[in-house]
Symmetry: C2
Subunit: 256 residues, 2 copies
DNA sequence: CGCGGCCGTCCCGCGTGGTGGGACACGTCT
DNA sequence: AGACGTGTCCCACCACGCGGGACGGCCGCG
């Protein structure tokens, strides 16, 4: 008899067909338009031949589109992505309030959810004179380095927070908080106030006030934030607005 | 010698692994949150066992999320969907102009692209007193029954238009144009004016004026539209605004 | 001009992993 | 209790994915 196979602790075994296909899909960055077979193989870590064949399979399945010899993400992926419930129900309910928030504060408004140790931006309403921010719709940023991330974590179960701490607090900017003790204490304060602040922790010259969108059980399902130039925006002025909008949104969602 | 295999006209052969996986992914509708294995099998037309295993594979690949015994579309699909170039470059460039268009007309503004014989909505900015419309971001509607669809088709190669005619003009509302001759004549008029109209053809009581977003080669890559209640909006008043915005957007995109 | 490097594409024998009918447990309604 | 729908798992069979390698085309460089 051969020895036991060790199913020890979620061995990735990332060599199934689907994992490879997803590796090809995620090889595309936000700003590149068409990739060749070789580039695909390089980014996905797959053999040339395999990457090429999988790309053709994905084209056949309608997930990728051919443009000459290159290949790019297909519109079907956008369609499917818009049906994802985690973002759709939240976004649809939030957009009107986000719009009001932008009009009242004249600043950029963000809506994000937590995924692992990072936040994923679901919607962004930009202000006319907004600074260049690192956030993008559908993009990720470390939760500990953003206002929305801290707002969500402050109202998340301990396991979730612990997972973020275990993953390590990522340093994004000069002032990003990376000390676990300091970070945990900040979360406690956010839990009392209902508002999280980001004072140039994710980008130079950018301030941000965020507040969690709470589900019926009191746990955060996302967060709203307002951010802008540090010399043109007073946190004390926008914080109550964000807090109010988040509370109203939470109540709206609870009403089904 | 065995007989020739006929590769006649794209034999679907939709029983490859990826086709099945995509069938599972597309089994999800816009408004349902979590599906069970049996429901998945029913909608995708796959055997129970197979649908269940593929769903688990998709969960393992991170494309689907488990919630108890049910399964739903995962956030990763949203992230990937936001990177699709066909919508991203167009949307990013269009949003500011769409915002101005809404402010100037106080009506709902649409941005869509063509896919086969249907339009896919890329972005929608709703007005405060907007009627309920059949359009959804990421949703599809027959191209011949919408203002944006007609605007795009009027500036598309003949093969594309022919494909739509061959597929058959779908009747959505009472007044949808389904006669091929009449439709072709309407496209010619749109080509002259630069603006397409939808007078209650896609929904009762709803008017719409649309104009194409043109690429450097003069072909439409999408369309903008303004729509609202037939008794509160004058087409003659909004048409020039839509036309202007579309021309400006086209020029912006051409400037790289 | 010849060369070498990089690219897209395809072939084909090997063997792994997908296949799906069926079995089983569980919950619910009649 | 019985009938039904459901989620989950098993397992022998064999199709299909695998990837090293080959081929031709394209470029830039010496």
């Amino acid at each position: 008899m051969v020895g036991h196979v060790f199913y020890s602790e979620a061995m990735p075994s990332d060599d199934t067909f689907l994992h490879r296909a997803v590796a090809v899909l995620t090889a595309f960055r936000a700003d590149d338009d068409g990739l060749g077979a070789a580039e695909l193989a390089r980014r996905s870590g797959l053999p040339r031949s395999t990457a090429h064949r999988i790309a053709l399979d994905l084209v056949d399945a309608g997930l990728l589109e051919r443009q000459g010899t290159r290949v790019r993400l297909g519109l079907k992926l956008f369609e499917i992505g818009q049906r994802v419930p985690r973002q759709r129900v939240l976004r649809d309910a939030a957009v009107p309030y986000m719009s009001d928030l932008r009009e009242a504060t004249r600043q950029t408004v963000h809506l994000a959810v937590l995924e692992g140790a990072e936040v994923v931006y679901v919607e962004i309403l930009g202000a006319s004179d907004a600074p260049r921010m690192p956030s993008q719709v559908g993009g990720r940023l470390p939760a500990n380095a953003t206002g929305v991330g801290k707002a969500i974590l402050a109202f998340s179960p301990p396991e979730v927070v612990q997972a973020v701490l275990d993953a390590g607090l990522v340093k994004v900017g000069e002032r990003t908080v990376v000390a676990p003790g300091l970070f945990t204490r900040e979360l406690a304060k956010i839990r009392e106030e209902g508002v999280a602040y980001d004072r140039e922790e994710s980008g130079n010259g950018i301030l941000c006030a965020a507040s969690p969108v709470l589900g019926p059980d009191g746990e955060a399902i996302g967060a709203l934030s307002v951010s802008g130039w540090s010399n043109r925006m007073r946190l004390a002025a926008v914080a109550p607005a964000v807090h109010t909008a988040a509370l109203t949104l939470s109540r709206t969602l609870a009403r089904r």
